[in-house]
């Protein structure tokens, strides 16, 4: 699966229960996907796909040239105030009074300078579908649903990298899939892979389409027919094993459906990458995804018990579903992170947990970033990190602040003022230096309260002040709306993207400072006329280090080739990360975007090891998306 587990946004705004409410809200709007006529018998499950949140015709619900749902976006209303439309998110329908000023101040952007995307996809620009008739005949014989429609194909030709969205808005991809197929079960996938081998065609698996590593882009030089294998119709939970707390799930299920359906039985996986509304289970496996609440539930490699994958060489799986085994190198680790180069993940057995009884947000203000990092390090050392703990720098704190909706009453505004006064005047925090940690606790009520106290006690030692639940919640909201904000920025000459890394604790501060500085420098050198917005947060903590997440955006007015400039700067930022002892990627993956650094990252021999697996499993490069290697 080439789907990226964690895109640049799209998390849930609120507690688990709220999350579920929202998710069930999504359902009402979406039509039921057409049932495939092919009889597909899986153990115990019903035949055919379950009703998913994302329809087969994705364009009916999702933007064709931007992030997320058609009805959800940032706009400037008639009064010139920013507003978030739709009813899907907590921010929906709310006016954000200070947001416009923040944009103008941060980017030097002005509402008068606007660029507009093409209104709709121009079907005439789309490269023609070239599929040989013999294959089509074979395919029809399998009764697997397929489409050669231009919109369907373009929708599956990209992920959500800046350059991909830019192409959608202003141009057209040189190469896109020739045909989209929708298998509804494991056996369908086996048939498709067999046909592809028989006719020597190229398969690119497609899950949720949230990749941010150019993983879904079709190699321009690919001469064979490209089949986009859309797993979205393989979305059933096949069984739930309450004794062992595992569930066997088809790999095409998207995060929100998985959590909703497990929730109906009182369970969850707890895997919540920020893209969980759209990204799929198979995509998580294929990219080694990480979830926000990994401190309790673990990352995908901790969650997976069993994987079934269809490869040109045959099916790969284990003979049992056990917590651990010593049978040579774990074959799961060839699959996790293979980014669609080896085969299609069809079924995954994943750990599940009872739904938590209680959830609580929180936040802590620190006088500066250094103190904040020191506190997170201490929390990690004592191994008492809550479900999620994140530390945002000052710029991101101000960003979050700008997204504050209009306050309802004078009383709240008075309270806000009082809080601000206390922190800045009484405690002497500089509002332009302070930073905020956001917290999410989960578990049974008593333990959560106890845990909360422990973490706040540590924070106090590092000069932290508790800053309320509301600030914490808004922090998490930021992660899911930021992807929508990029679409707004694109309308006003502002382009941006996020990238991430993992780094040992002792280098966190140096890395953050140097990368931000490098971005500022590179912008200046490349002729960017306005100071860039570059900000970071420490977004995950581990025993030996942390995951750092960067946002970077700038106003490109006056630059003729903004995407090229953007890519050069991002490349420089990545070089800087590597020079500072950071990794090539913590969870976004490599795709085609970061391939050039693979040798440096895992050594020649390491790369050779991966290549030899590829050569054995897929000698004819049927899975030819050219990711990773």
């Amino acid at each position: 699966m080439a789907a990226e587990a964690v895109g640049s946004g799209g998390g849930s705004p609120s507690s688990a229960r709220r999350r579920l409410r929202i998710i069930s809200g999504h359902l009402r709007g979406s039509g039921r996907a057409a049932l495939s006529p092919s009889p597909c018998k899986a153990q115990g499950g019903p035949a055919g796909p379950a009703a998913g949140s994302i329809p087969k015709k994705r364009q009916e619900l999702l933007k064709w040239n931007g992030w997320g749902y058609n009805d959800s976006k940032f706009i400037f209303n008639k009064k010139g105030q920013a507003e978030f439309t739709g009813k899907r998110y907590r921010l929906g329908g709310m006016v954000l009074p200070t947001f416009k000023e923040w944009i103008e101040k941060t980017f030097g952007a002005s509402l008068e300078h606007k660029t507009t995307s093409r209104a709709s996809l121009n079907v005439n620009d789309v490269p023609p579908s070239i599929v040989n008739e013999e294959f089509l005949q074979d395919l029809r014989a399998t009764n697997i649903s397929y489409s050669q429609d231009a919109e369907d194909r373009v929708f599956r030709a990209h992920g959500h990298c800046l350059h991909e969205i830019f192409v959608l808005r202003e141009g057209m991809f040189k190469r896109i899939p020739d045909i989209v197929v929708w298998p509804v079960c494991h056996e369908d996938v086996v048939k498709i892979v067999e046909l592809a081998c028989k006719h020597n065609l190229c398969i690119i698996p497609f899950g949720g389409g949230t990749s941010v590593s150019s993983a879904l882009e079709c190699p321009e030089e690919e001469k064979r027919t490209i089949i986009s294998l859309d797993t979205s119709q393989m979305n059933r939970i096949l069984w739930i094993d309450e004794k062992n707390l595992t569930a066997c799930v088809e790999a095409g299920i998207v995060g929100q459906d998985l959590e909703k359906q497990l929730g109906e039985s009182g369970f969850c996986t707890g895997h919540e990458p920020d893209s969980m509304e759209f990204s799929s289970l198979g995509g998580w496996v294929a990219t080694r995804a990480s979830g926000m609440k990994k401190n309790i539930y673990g990352n995908i490699e901790d969650l997976v018990i069993h994987i079934k994958m269809v490869t040109p060489r045959g099916i790969v799986e284990k003979n049992c579903q056990v917590p651990r085994m010593s049978t040579g190198p774990d074959i799961h680790h060839f699959i996790m992170g293979s980014e669609g180069t080896l085969g299609v993940v069809t079924e995954v057995t994943i750990k599940i947990r009872p739904l938590p009884e209680y959830q609580k947000y929180g936040s802590v203000v620190f006088p500066n970033f250094e103190r904040g990092v020191a506190c997170l390090r201490e929390v990690a050392k004592q191994r008492c990190a809550p479900a999620s703990i994140r530390l945002v720098d000052n710029a991101q704190f101000q960003f979050g602040h700008a997204l504050k909706p209009q306050v309802a009453s004078i009383f709240t505004s008075f309270l806000d003022g009082l809080k601000k006064f206390y922190i800045t005047k009484f405690k002497g925090f500089d509002p332009n230096i302070l930073c905020v940690a956001t917290l999410l606790f989960e578990g049974d009520r008593e333990k959560v309260l106890q845990h909360e106290k422990q973490v706040y006690d540590i924070a106090t030692k590092f000069g932290g002040l508790a800053a309320g639940e509301d600030n914490g919640q808004r922090g998490y909201m930021l992660t899911f709306v930021i992807a929508y904000i990029r679409d707004l920025g694109l309308d006003y000459y502002v382009i941006g993207e996020s990238f991430e890394t993992s780094v040992p604790w002792d280098r966190v501060l140096d890395l953050c400072r140097n990368v931000k500085e490098r971005i500022v420098r590179e912008c200046k050198e490349k002729g960017v006329q306005f100071a860039p917005f570059s900000t970071c947060r420490v977004t995950q903590t581990y025993d030996a280090g942390a995951c750092v997440y960067f946002y970077f955006a700038f106003n490109y007015r006056g630059i003729s080739d903004p995407i090229h400039v953007y890519e050069e700067i991002e490349r420089a930022a990545r070089e800087e990360i590597l020079a500072n002892g950071g990794s090539l990627s913590h969870h976004h993956g490599v795709g085609k975007l970061r391939k050039r650094w693979m040798k440096e990252s895992i050594s020649d021999v390491g790369l050779g090891m991966l290549r030899s697996v590829k050569e054995y499993v897929d000698p004819n490069n049927i899975f030819g998306n050219k990711n990773l290697l």
Binding site: D506, R507, R518, L578, A579, N580, G581
Partner: protein, 650 residues
Amino acid sequence: MLLHSCSCKSRDQSCFMSHSLFVCSQQKELTSKKRDEFEDILEERRLSSDLRYAMKCYTPVIYKGLSPCKPNAIKTAVLQSEQVQYVIKQLAKEMGESPDIIQEEATEILDEMGHSMQLGAVRFFISFCLSELFCKYWSNIVCSVFLFQLQHAIQEHPVVLLPSHRSYVDFLMLSYLLYTYDLALPVIAAGIDFLGMKIVGELLRRAGAFFMRRSFGGNRLYWAVFAEYVKTMLRNGYAPIEFFLEGTRSRTAKTLTPKFGLLSIVMEPFFKREVFDTYLVPISISYERILEESLYAYELLGVPKPKESTSGLLKARRILSDNFGTIHIYVGQPVSLRTLASGRINLCPYNLVPRHLPQKPSEDIQEFVSDVAYKMELLQIENMVLSPWVLVAAVLLQNLPAMDFELLIEKTVWLKGLTQTFGGFIEWPDNLCAKKAVTSALALHSNIARLVNGHVVLNDKGEEDGAIGEIVFKRALAILMCGNYRNQLLNVFVRPSLVALALQMTRSFRKEEVYSCFSILRDVFSDEFIFFPGISLKDFEEGCFLLTKCDAIQTTQQEIYLTDKGSVIVSFLSAMFRPFVEGYQLIFRYLSKETREAFTEKQFVPGVRNFVFQLLEKGNTQCYEALSSDMQKNALAALVQMGAVKKKKM
């Protein structure tokens, strides 16, 4: 690299030189632009009182990330640093001693080493004493500062100041300069021998000097403490760090080959990405007349250098009753280490070991450090200011024992043109006629040469005729002193001159042959002059280019031809370097004939000296410069490098 147009002069432009009208080439434009940058910092000093200067409102530009701290806080931080603690624990384990004892030792090292910069002391020392001295004994101190760039660099990044080192006066020169320009005062790496001078040592300490032992390669504790002390100051942006790449004062006015230790220490925080960047500032300090001129000549001839002592310094005041002309300070453009390193080095080794562990730099890094050191020295050389006397000395040395005054002037003017063609940077006011320039140069250096009956002669005679040995010694002294001024020209001349020498030696027109001879000469003289490592061919091409530029040669793909005009130039150039060629020949002769087996380095210098001395007494050679211990050591070092001589530890 050299010049961006920079208009940073807020003060009155004391345009002490107007544009040179010499040759209208780009080089010249650069040169004259360079001149406009200079201003006299003593002028203002002379107009107002020292007290007012000392009390002036000093609000320096400092590093943006600086968290202000006292010198003692730095020491504490160093002592408690992971780096030092790690070494302490290691040593304790290895030697079976208590860490407390080693910690104690570290504290002592720090106390010996650390500066205790106090603004009060700096104000007193720099502005009061130095102003007094400077104004009295030097006619001008003129300096050119890329003020804006330096200011910017100091604000944005840790800065390392790398001045040339010709005299003790260098030590506080930059502090004086930065104080005048309202920039952060530097901390200065000084040799431990200064601490032998009672009051001066402590005064220097308060003025920001910190002290390093001359050799501490084997002492891991010392190395750890010293390196961490320097790096802590650098990382905190506590102050610009000043040290001399040459490691010691050059006794010959030629730039010495660089030392890498301290440079690699200041570069390490960048390699480990503890800082975003570090700026290196090459600074050239040129003296019209060097304070220690005769002292150096004695030292080169083997009369031991007096130990630094306060009374010695007071005696030196006697020398100070003279006039020492002008000091030129050229603060070059700050060079970004990040830019230098970009694409060149693989930092992976640093990522695989915790950063506080002492780590031997990879070969890659060592090579980079060496390249940077040479680059900085070449930048220093480029911006050295040459006085007319330097030209006079060079001409005079080729026309001993006496030279017609008019001819000297004529030749000097000719050499001036040649020097400028080669990119030399000469202080020669346009409105000053040649005769006046030469006369005043002779007046300033009357201790070396004087005018007698229309002829210029060296002061190479004692008051009475002594023994033959005495005569040779006196003559050697005068020639070395004079030679030390000529030496200032050599780094500008070395590339075309070695081509000229190679042309003469091979008597060939084939480029290939000339180049291979050039290449050998370059290797032989690799410790004598500064060459960027490994670019022999480029140096050769530059030499050829400069000779072509002054119409001395014409080149085709394969061949080199001497022009009519060329023979004069080529023979002048080769004569200029002849003392080195002959000197090295003598040294090699000594080695092949006089030494049968292994010898110690200590025996070597006196051995050669006696050998040459005898030849001189017998009149079998005229190469007095072979007596220079500097040349002898350089020759030996080159031989070791080329594998002709082997060094063994006994």
